[in-house]
Symmetry: C2
Subunit: 107 residues, 2 copies
Amino acid sequence: MAQLPRGTISVIFVAQRTDADAAGYARAAAMMEALAVQQKGYIAMDSVRGSDGLGITVSYWTDEASAKAWRDHPEHTAVRDSGRDLWYSDYSLHVAEVTRSYDWEKP
Amino acid sequence: MAQLPRGTISVIFVAQRTDADAAGYARAAAMMEALAVQQKGYIAMDSVRGSDGLGITVSYWTDEASAKAWRDHPEHTAVRDSGRDLWYSDYSLHVAEVTRSYDWEKP
């Protein structure tokens, strides 16, 4: 968690997991996270999944070109197909440009 | 979960809960959600908390003025003070304007 510069691109992924293939999903999620952090323009990621299988992952990128390059990364694309086939019943993805950002920590 | 119009304002709130005051927090969270949906310009909200206490809530608003009006709502402001005093150890808040939005549901 951190304050983000104005113009940062946030990619908000809200997804409902199915019950299928927990092990395969966990492997792929760990792989994608490890791969994302290596990409040009990657800043950070916040990710939470609730006990009902609903998850929100927000990744932050320095610019639109970096976010799009990650979207089009061949391994990411392949994993997205498995997501549709197996892991998710529905999802939304919103790309949004940061206009204000705050950060607070208990003193 | 839904596709959002370009220009929608997303408010991304990422917060780490303390262990304190679970009942008070649950009451306030339910109250705030009920109040938010009544505000002018409110579109939707996605919210998840993990077992480690990390939570992400994203609320979506038709425009910046509506998002700011909700930020400045007196009851919301009062609850934010309790958040800092009791419920959260740290949080980030990012306001971002939607440029692209997708929605998928298993056929």
